[in-house]
Amino acid sequence: MKNCLGIINLSEEEMQIQELTKVRPIAGLPFAGRYRVIDFMLSNMVNGGIHNIGIFTQNKFRSLIDHIGSGKAWDLDRKISGVKVFNPAFNYNKIVQTHGDIEHFYQSLDYIKYASEDYVFLSRSYMICNMDLKKIFKDHLESNNDISIVYKNVKNEEKFYGLDTLNIGMNKLLISIGKNTGKKEKIDLSMEMYIMRKDILVKIIEESVESGHSNYLKQALFQELVNYKVGTCRYEGYLACINSNKNFYDANMDMLDMDIYRQLFNNERPVFTKVKDEPSTIYRENSDVKNSLVANGCDIEGEVKNSIIFRDVHIDEGTKVTNSIIMQRTKIEKNCSLNNVILDKYVVITKENILAGDKKIPYIVGKNLTI
């Protein structure tokens, strides 16, 4: 897929995940002990042979820029191509603010146009999966379709409500895109990943800006699909959609299922992320850890069950953590009890605190708080 440009569009709805996305976009959410959500799509692209990737951000891009850096962690600090983050340009003189992301893509159209690649793989970042993009690209080329959309056939569950579904006809061709109202038992869920020749994408963006009929790239794509031969590519494998607190919590907990864990983390297509200088995690004499994912740099003196522990977490003596997600550099002092809790980064839970949420509505403590 050296001949394919990768675009990750971070213009995402954050309505159902506000507490954790106050300080970062969904793409920047910590996941599975040491990753951020965007690492999965970036790694998919890199493992698929895409070496030129543009990330189109909206607001709150600073932490993301820190995370991506020069792209070294993904081997994307290349002379030609590599990774580039596009923040929406901020024009002091232009107070009128258009909504939507299409304007942002239009501003950076030269980047897309003049990239040496002929194809483009367009995606969001909130869908977590480990996908063999080489195979998807091959399928697309063999199909001779103008555009291919990636989907997964899933048993319908609440977590997929409101997402796009594909109606697929003969020869895997797309008939239409709809919304999942939850009525069907099985659906073909759109993974919002599109492959096409680059000139098609450029044309869609230009026409959309000219006509003004769409503010969002996704709208524009949907509007223009009728003019192209659109096929579908099927993905098999684990998929999580990080678009609500509950989905975020559940997807993290999914990592404790070894079958799912191995679908996401394997040697063939590793997930890359920024590495940190942390020593090994130390388990003290009275610690008791079971069925948990633990990152480096932790100091565990208490009890941890069915939980995801990020880097450099300190869990003091007598403390019990169950069914919880404890993010980086958090400290839980003595004799606390936490159940169904999400602690954001740099949180301190002072001693003898009892925090308990419900699996459906986990209790969330925002970044930097001490309680």
């Binding site: 864990y261 590793p270 590495v275 995690t281 003290r284 004499e285 850890v289 069925n291």
Partner: protein, 379 residues
């Protein structure tokens, strides 16, 4: 080339034969230590944290893993435009091949490298000790004492003096005698293998030493005694932190075990003096429902389905169901299959301990080493 006040040279060419199979395909400074590091990470991180940005590493024996580990020094922030870390292997010249004949010869062969930076001082380190030390404080002391050579020393128990090179000093720590592994020591200050020299003076002695037909090409045996005899001012610099030579299987095992205690003398979590290493990209460790982990260190990529007690587990180790690891050091990529039991052992990188096998001394007295051809090769 810009002038540097002090250049550090790390002697990393030794075979480390007392580490037996571990160093068959691996230079001693590249031996894994402390759950994720290699021994050389300690002097390198010390240099970086001390603000020394020009470091030469003299390699000779099995340097491949060491070279790959060091690269251009990025993990230690030593990838500098001017200075940085440089690997100095032996090489062939017009006169033929030149292996380093000893520590002093190794530096002699690299005089030109040092001269490029025109330093006032040279810091000589060895690549096989575990400690955290601010070399700049030592340099300050060296300057205050107007010393020609300053040797880092540490107080050792009197009963252990016979194992060390002891320095006999006057009250103001001026050295008047070297006492190598004395039976009846007069002092208990042991040399740590850390030296600051005035470069001009050292260079002069290095050149002289090459011409001496009886030389052993060794710092300790030739250069230092000669300098002392000639009446140069040499001082001891007392260091009072944790320092350990990990050149034998016993001391390597002990050094690892010492990291596990609650009041570990080497605080590896100290953010003001981090020990850097090359970080692998591995997923977090998994502790399953069957696992039972106590008083142990575990690193990323590990999958623990059995019992781990008082042990140091390096990255990417698999511990199977009902397997037991007691008081052991398990190096990277080891697979401990189901039902295997390991007592007081050092298991070399890439080893496989078969289903049901029992390794090591059940009485926890002797240390057992399991090593293999692939010890050197991991990322």
């Amino acid at each position: 080339m810009i002038k540097k006040e002090m250049v550090a040279l790390i002697l990393a060419g030794g075979q480390g034969s007392r580490l037996k199979g571990l160093t068959k395909n691996l230079a001693k400074p590249a031996v894994p230590f402390g759950g994720k590091y290699r021994i050389i990470d300690f002097p390198l991180s010390n240099c970086s944290n001390s603000g020394i940005d020009t470091v030469g590493i003299l390699t000779q024996y099995q340097p491949l893993a060491l070279n790959a580990h060091i690269g251009i020094g990025k993990p230690w922030d030593l990838d500098r435009t001017r200075g940085g870390v440089k690997i100095l292997p032996p090489y062939m010249s017009e006169e033929g091949g030149r292996w380093f004949k000893g520590t002093s010869n190794a530096i002699f062969e690299n005089i030109h490298f040092v001269d490029t930076y025109d330093p006032d001082y040279v810091l000589i380190l060895s690549g096989d000790h575990i400690y955290k030390m601010d070399y700049m404080k030592m340099l300050k002391y060296h300057k205050e004492k107007k010393s020609e050579v300053t040797l880092g020393v540490i107080e050792v128990p009197w009963e252990d003096t016979y194992r060390f090179g002891i320095l006999n000093t006057t009250d103001d720590l001026k050295i008047y005698e070297f006492d190598e592994k004395p039976k009846n020591a007069k002092n208990n200050l042991a040399s740590m293998g850390i030296y600051i020299f005035n470069w001009k003076k050292l260079k002069e002695y290095l050149i002289k030493d090459q011409e001496n037909p009886d030389t052993n090409y060794d710092f300790g045996k030739d250069i230092l005694p000669k300098m002392l005899n000639d009446g140069n001012d040499m001082y001891a610099y007392e260091f009072d932190g944790y320092w350990r030579d990990v050149g034998t299987l016993e001391s390597l095992w002990e050094g690892n075990m010492e990291m596990l205690s609650k009041d570990a003398p080497l605080n590896i979590h100290d953010r003001t003096w981090k020990i850097y290493s090359r970080n692998a990209n591995l997923p977090p460790q998994i502790i399953t429902n069957n696992a039972n982990v106590k008083s142990s260190m575990i690193n990323e990529g590990c999958y623990i389905d059995g019992e781990v007690n008082k042990s140091v587990i390096f990255p990417n180790v698999k511990v199977g169901k009902n397997a037991k690891i007691i008081q052991s050091v398990i190096m990277p990529n080891v697979v401990v299959e189901d039902n295997a039991v390991i007592y007081k052992s050092i298991i070399g990188t890439n080893s496989i301990i078969k289903d049901g096998s029992v390794v090591g001394d059940k009485e926890l007295k002797e240390i057992t080493l399991i090593s293999n051809e692939d010890n050197g090769l991991f990322e």
